[in-house]
């Protein structure tokens, strides 16, 4: 029995080197970002810095067609996310369609816009599972991080999710400003009768990169967190499953981001763009195909964006000769480009990356007394201040 996790641009035409086609895998999951609209404005939001307006969102029928095409290429699971997916009035219709064609359906929500009636409807539509984000166990800090007074409502919604009979995962993004409450977060997940708790770390690209100093935890905080999780996993075996990943800044080798580019996963944006990962639009040199124009099977196989980093043939050293190249697949492409400005660079978290030093600067500031104010996610951002290269981070804070 094999257990696989199912959750997280094309070459320019001017490039003379066209990599040979890598062997295609059958993807496991599609992340459907139904909208970028969200009442919360978390400063580590995984949405791109340039958010899509409602007027550009694809319609119900396009989503249904995309999901049908996803099943045809072997996708097993559909995650409905955002923004806040419940901001779409057609969520039930989309979930019902996904469920009726055999997809395993998962709703990833902040929980602040939904009531019991709608949860019941989603249950009846065949929804399989719900994930609710909780920013901290301390209501005041939770609301501050979310930029929205929604903590109490989230707790209430979690109760309703269990009441209507849906299984629940609590998503807790942990960082410098809430890791001291990790033990309480585990207790809360048990109290809310969740099956799972995801202890996620902030991933530093997009919005989170603008807020890096505010979020990067100290080594001591992390070591303590790891201890807490290990103890809780033993104590709560059979009661609460805890997913936990150490943030890669403190790791010696990169994470296997998305299980490899274009191997297991694809993402559809509110506007219908099909991406190899939800952050891929930060790779400004890539061109993405749109589900409005082309079938998903064509995109999975032929899109330049998917083929650019698929497999290993694109890799320069130190990845090329590395015996882990088919384990970590070069790490996170978005992080590598954001921090090095080099599109083929190894993920700089790797100890063999020549750019490993770009992590030292932020790490040297970790634990400093002064914590910067959050730069909250918001829908209007001027294009010319968006940072991409490692130098532009400073510009983006001006």
């Amino acid at each position: 029995m094999t257990e696989l996790k199912t959750k997280e641009e094309p070459s320019n035409i001017g490039d003379s080197h066209i990599p040979e086609k890598e062997k295609l895998q059958i993807p496991y999951a599609v992340l459907c970002e139904l909208t970028h609209r969200c009442p919360l404005s978390c400063p580590y939001c995984s949405n791109p810095v340039e958010l899509e307006m409602k007027s550009r969102e694809i319609d119900t029928d396009t989503w249904k067609r995309a999901l049908s095409e996803a099943v045809k290429i072997g996708i097993l699971q559909a995650h409905f996310s955002g923004g806040e997916p419940t901001a779409r009035k057609d969520l039930e219709e989309i979930v019902q369609h996904a469920s009726s064609i055999g997809l395993y359906t998962n709703l990833i929500t902040s929980g602040v816009l939904i009531n019991e009636d709608r949860l019941k409807k989603l249950y009846d539509c065949g929804l399989d599972h719900v994930q609710v984000s909780i920013q901290d166990t301390d209501p005041e800090n939770s609301n501050k991080i979310a930029g929205f007074k929604g903590h109490d409502k989230k707790i209430h919604t979690a109760g309703l999710i269990r009441k209507v009979g849906l299984p629940l995962t609590i998503n807790a993004v942990m960082h410098r400003q809430n890791l001291h409450n990790l033990d309480k977060m585990i207790e809360l997940a048990v109290k809310l009768d969740a099956e799972r708790l995801e202890v996620a770390q902030v991933q530093y690209y997009g919005w989170a990169l603008k807020n890096q100093t505010a979020f990067l935890p100290t080594k001591e905080q992390l070591d303590r967190a790891t201890e807490i999780v290990e103890e809780a996993r033993i104590k709560l075996k059979g009661i609460l499953a805890i997913d936990y990943v150490v943030p890669d800044y403190y790791a010696k080798r990169p994470k296997s981001c998305m299980g490899g580019w274009g191997r297991q996963f694809l993402n559809i944006t509110p506007a219908g763009k099909v991406l190899p990962c939800h952050a891929a639009e930060s790779l400004s040199f890539l061109k993405f195909d749109n589900i409005k124009d082309k079938p998903l099977s064509w995109i999975w196989e032929n899109s330049e964006a998917f083929n650019k980093f698929r497999g290993t043939s694109w890799m320069p050293e130190p990845c090329k000769s590395c015996d882990r190249k088919e384990i970590d697949w070069g790490g996170c492409r978005c992080q590598a480009f954001a921090l090095t400005g080099d599109k083929n660079a190894a993920d700089p978290t790797c100890e063999f990356s020549p750019y490993r030093n770009v992590l030292d600067e932020p790490l040297s500031k970790v634990g400093q007394k002064e914590i910067p104010e959050f730069i909250y996610r918001k829908i209007k951002v001027k294009k010319n201040i968006i940072g991409i290269g490692h130098n532009s981070r400073k510009a983006s804070k001006q």
């Binding site: 257990e3 059958i26 072997g74 097993l76 699971q77 599972h129």
Partner: protein
């Protein structure tokens, strides 16, 4: 922990609502869909899981498999069945 489920032959196992078994055509494999997880089942696990229906006890499942795989000793099959189901139960994907 009192809540921890340790399976024995008298238990009647079933999949919880959030774990769904189905045959996947593109992969030619039985799979279990679970939150952010897919279990791809090998041949033995597939034989076992198809007998998990919320009605048959583990004892009955073992008997059926022993009959089907004529020649395999019951104690060997019993061990395979319990280990496989227990590994799913530990993650909450088999309940009684």
């Amino acid at each position: 922990m009192t809540n921890l489920l340790t399976l024995n032959e008298k238990h009647i196992p079933k999949l919880p609502r959030h774990a769904k078994l189905r045959y996947d055509e593109p992969r030619k494999k039985w799979i279990i869909n679970a939150p952010e997880r897919v279990f791809e089942l090998d041949e033995i696990a597939s034989e076992i899981i198809q007998l998990v229906n919320g009605e048959s006890s583990i004892e009955i499942i073992i008997n059926e498999l022993t009959e089907k795989f004529d020649g395999a000793p019951r104690d060997v099959i019993s061990k395979d069945v319990i280990i496989m189901l227990q590994s799913l139960a530990d993650k909450g994907f088999i309940v009684i």
